[in-house]
C-alpha cells in the first residue's frame, strides 16, 4: 500500500503539530497530532477493507475468429466488480510483447460501482505469428479520500493464437489458380506424380478422352489414337508435415524458419486443394505430433488447415548458430553436436541427446522419433493406397527421422518430397563472414549434400528452401522435375 501526496501532507502536518506542541508547551497543538493520525488510521483501515473485499472478474473476448499478424484485432475486456465495495481505480490491460494498441485505449480510470460491470474496448495489432498470452490487468486502487493507493494485478491468462500474416493467405489464394504440382503434358522427370493409376487395357480413342490417357508412343507406330484404360484411378493423398522442433522455432534476425514453413504449408495445401488433391497437414516436434488433419477434399478443408496451423508453436528468440555447431556433423554418429562454448549450446546438446535417447528406446523401426513414427502409421494405415509425403524441416533434429521415412516411403511405393529449410540462409549476420564461420557453413553444405544424395537414392525429391523462396517458385521447381 502506497501513501499518496495528500496522505504525506496529512502525516507531515501531524508531525508539525506535535513539534509545535512540544516547542510552545501547548496541549491543543499536541492534540491535533492524534486527530490527524486518527483520520489517517480510519482512512487506511477503510481502504484496506475495500482492497480485501475486492473481487474482479475479467472476461476477454475478440471479435475476430482468426486473427492474423499485422492485422488489427478488436478486443473487448469486460470487468465485473463482484465485490460489495465500489472501486476507484486505474485499470490497465497489460498487452503482450510484440503488440501495439492501434485504436482505443487499454486503460480505464474511474469508479466501478459494486456488482456492476465496465468494458474496455480497443484494437490491438500483433506483429508476429505467435500465441499471445494476456497476463491480466494492472489495477491501481485509490481510496475515497485520496490518501492511499494499492497496486495489484488481476490475473487473466487468456491466450490468443495469431496466425501468420494475411499476405501469406492472399498469396495462397493468388497462386492457387495459377500453380499446380501436376504436369499436364509429357515429361520424363516428373517429380510429383499426383495420380494413383493401375493400367488395364487399351481401347480406341473416343472424343472427350483426356490427352494424358492417350498412348502417344502407339500413335507414332500405328498412326492411330489409343486410349489407356485404368482399373483404379484416384488422386494421391498428400500429407504435409511441418517440423516444429526446437531448432525450427529458434528465431534469429529476419524471417523465422517456422513462420516461413507455416506460410509454405498454407500455400502448398491451397495449391493442392485447388487442383482437387486431398491434402492434410501435421505439426510435429522432436517426439510427438502436436496436431494433425487427415488428407481430405471436403468443402472447408482449407479453412480447417488454417485453423489447425494456428496451433503451430511460437518462435522463441535466440540464435541457433550460437547454440548448435553443425561443423562436426560428419564425425558425430548422430549428425549433430553442440560447440560447448556457451551455456545455451550445452543445453541444446543435452536436449538433442535426450531426444535421441527417447528414439532409441521407443522405436526399433528407425533411428529417429516423431516424424518417422507418424509416417509409418500413416503409410501402414493407408494399406495399398499411395501417399505423397511432403516434409518441411531444417533437418537438424529430424535428419535421421527423415531418412528413415524416405526409406519407408520407397518400400511402400509412396512419394516423398523434402523441403529443406536451409538453416544457414535464414541467419542474416551484420558482421562480415569470418573464416571459422565460413568453414562451418561449408561443412554444413557438405553434410546436407550427403543427405540429399541419400534421399535421392531412396527416390525422394529434395528442394533447398531459403527465406527468399516463394511457394510459386518451389511448386514450379517440383513440377518441372528439378526437385
Amino acid at each position: 500500500m502506497q501513501t499518496q501526496a495528500s496522505g504525506i501532507v496529512l502525516f507531515v502536518s501531524a508531525a508539525v503539530f506535535a513539534l509545535a506542541g512540544i516547542l510552545f508547551p501547548s496541549l491543543p497543538f499536541a492534540l491535533m497530532c492524534p486527530v490527524l493520525l486518527g483520520v489517517l488510521i480510519y482512512a487506511r483501515s477503510k481502504f484496506m477493507g475495500e482492497v480485501q473485499e475486492t473481487e474482479l472478474i475479467v472476461n476477454r473476448s475478440t471479435h475476430d475468429e482468426v486473427p492474423f499478424a499485422g492485422q488489427p484485432i478488436a478486443l473487448s475486456v469486460e470487468i465485473l466488480n463482484a465485490g460489495p465495495a465500489p472501486i476507484r481505480c486505474v485499470l490497465e490491460d497489460v498487452i503482450p510483447e510484440d503488440c501495439e494498441v492501434a485504436a482505443g485505449s487499454n486503460r480505464y480510470s474511474g469508479l466501478i460501482p459494486a456488482r456492476s460491470q465496465t468494458t474496455i474496448s480497443y484494437t490491438l495489432v500483433p506483429h508476429k505469428r505467435k500465441v499471445y498470452t494476456f497476463e491480466g490487468l494492472r489495477l491501481e486502487m485509490r481510496d475515497e479520500y485520496g490518501l492511499f493507493s494499492h497496486t495489484s494485478s488481476v490475473e487473466d491468462g487468456t491466450k490468443i493464437a495469431v496466425h501468420t500474416s494475411k499476405r501469406s493467405l492472399q498469396a495462397a489464394r493468388r497462386i492457387a489458380g495459377r500453380e499446380h504440382l501436376e504436369h499436364s503434358g509429357k515429361s520424363r522427370h516428373l517429380a510429383a506424380v499426383m495420380h494413383d493409376l493401375e493400367f488395364d487395357r487399351l481401347r480406341d480413342y473416343l472424343p472427350g478422352d483426356r490427352p494424358r490417357d492417350i498412348d502417344w508412343k502407339l500413335l507414332s507406330r500405328l498412326d492411330k489414337l489409343f486410349t489407356k484404360v485404368y482399373t483404379k484411378e484416384g488422386a494421391i493423398q498428400t500429407m504435409i508435415f511441418v517440423d516444429c522442433s526446437r531448432s525450427m522455432r529458434t528465431a534469429g534476425s529476419g524471417i523465422t524458419k517456422l513462420d516461413h514453413s507455416v506460410d509454405l504449408c498454407l500455400q502448398l495445401s491451397r495449391v493442392l486443394l485447388s487442383s482437387h488433391h486431398a491434402a492434410g497437414v501435421a505439426l510435429i516436434d522432436e517426439v510427438t505430433v502436436i496436431d494433425q488433419l487427415r488428407p481430405s477434399l471436403i468443402r472447408h478443408q482449407f479453412e480447417r488447415i488454417i485453423q489447425m496451423l494456428r496451433n503451430a508453436p511460437s518462435t522463441v528468440p535466440g540464435n541457433v548458430h550460437e547454440s548448435i555447431d553443425t561443423q562436426p556433423m560428419a564425425d558425430a554418429p548422430d549428425g549433430l553436436t553442440a560447440n560447448g562454448n556457451t551455456e545455451e549450446a550445452a543445453q541444446m546438446e543435452k536436449f538433442l541427446s535426450a531426444v535421441r535417447d527417447i528414439g532409441v528406446r521407443t522405436s526399433k523401426r528407425s533411428k529417429g522419433v516423431g516424424l518417422d513414427e507418424v509416417i509409418w502409421k500413416l503409410l501402414t494405415g493407408a494399406k495399398d493406397q499411395k501417399q505423397m509425403i511432403i516434409v518441411i524441416s531444417d533437418l537438424i533434429s529430424s535428419r535421421d527421422a527423415v531418412l528413415a521415412s524416405a526409406k519407408l516411403c520407397q518400400k511402400k511405393g509412396s512419394q516423398m518430397l523434402v523441403l529443406h529449410i536451409y538453416d544457414d540462409w535464414y541467419e542474416r549476420s551484420e558482421t562480415p563472414l569470418e573464416v571459422g564461420e565460413a568453414e562451418r557453413m561449408y561443412g554444413n553444405l557438405l553434410n546436407y549434400l550427403d543427405v540429399e544424395v541419400k534421399l535421392r537414392k531412396m527416390g525422394a525429391s529434395y528442394v533447398k528452401v531459403g527465406p527468399a523462396d516463394a511457394t510459386a517458385s518451389i511448386v514450379r521447381t517440383i513440377r518441372w522435375g528439378k526437385a
Binding site: L10, P28, A30, L31, C33, E50, P86, A114
Partner: protein, 171 residues
C-alpha cells in the same frame, strides 16, 4: 447538490459552531477561522482537495490557538477538548478530504470507525491512564505531572498506537 454533499455541509457548519462555542476566540482568531472556513467551502464547491487541506490547516491553527486547556487529567477540560476540538477537527478533516467526492459508496464498514474512534479516545485518555497505572504500581510515590510531561505521554501513546494500527498491509 446531492444529499451526501448537503450532509457534509451540515457536518462542516456544526463543527465550526462547536469550535466557536468551546473556545475563547479573539477577533484576530475569529478572522483567521473564517478565512480558513471560507477556503474550505470554496474548495468543497470546486471539488479541489488540496485547497480544502490548506483551509483545514488554517482552521486547525486558529482553533488550537484559541482553545484554553492546561491538563488532560480532569474531566471538565477533557470533555471540553473532546467536544470543542477533537470531534469537530476530525469531522472537518474528513470534510476537507471529501472535497472531490461526489457521494457515499454505499459500503459501510464498522471496523474503521471503531479503530479511528478508539485511537482518538485512547490518546485523549492516555495521560489519565498513565497516572492511574503509576498510582497503582507505586502507591507511595508522589509524582507531579507538568504540562510538558502530559504532552510527551500523549504524543508517545499516539505514535505507538499509530504504528501498531498501521503495521498490517493488505494481502
Amino acid at each position: 447538490m446531492n444529499r451526501f454533499r448537503m450532509r457534509m455541509l451540515l457536518m462542516f457548519s456544526t463543527s465550526i459552531i462547536a469550535i466557536l462555542v468551546f473556545s475563547r476566540m479573539s477577533s484576530y482568531s475569529l478572522f483567521v477561522l473564517a478565512f480558513g472556513a471560507l477556503i474550505m467551502l470554496i474548495a468543497f464547491a470546486s471539488y479541489y482537495r488540496p485547497a480544502g487541506l490548506f483551509g483545514l490547516f488554517i482552521v486547525a491553527i486558529s482553533a488550537t490557538m484559541s482553545m484554553q486547556i492546561d491538563t488532560l487529567i480532569e474531566t471538565g477540560p477533557m470533555i471540553a477538548v473532546a467536544v470543542g476540538m477533537l470531534i469537530p477537527m476530525t469531522l472537518l478533516t474528513l470534510f476537507a478530504l471529501s472535497s472531490e467526492s461526489d457521494g457515499e459508496n454505499g459500503y459501510f464498514q464498522r471496523r474503521p470507525v471503531f479503530l479511528g474512534a478508539a485511537y482518538i479516545g485512547c490518546c485523549l485518555l492516555s495521560v489519565a491512564v498513565v497516572i492511574a497505572i503509576t498510582g497503582l504500581v507505586f502507591p507511595h510515590m508522589s509524582l507531579r505531572f507538568y504540562g510538558l510531561m502530559e504532552i510527551s505521554i500523549l504524543l508517545m501513546v499516539s505514535a505507538v498506537l499509530a504504528i501498531a494500527l498501521t503495521s498490517r498491509d493488505p494481502e
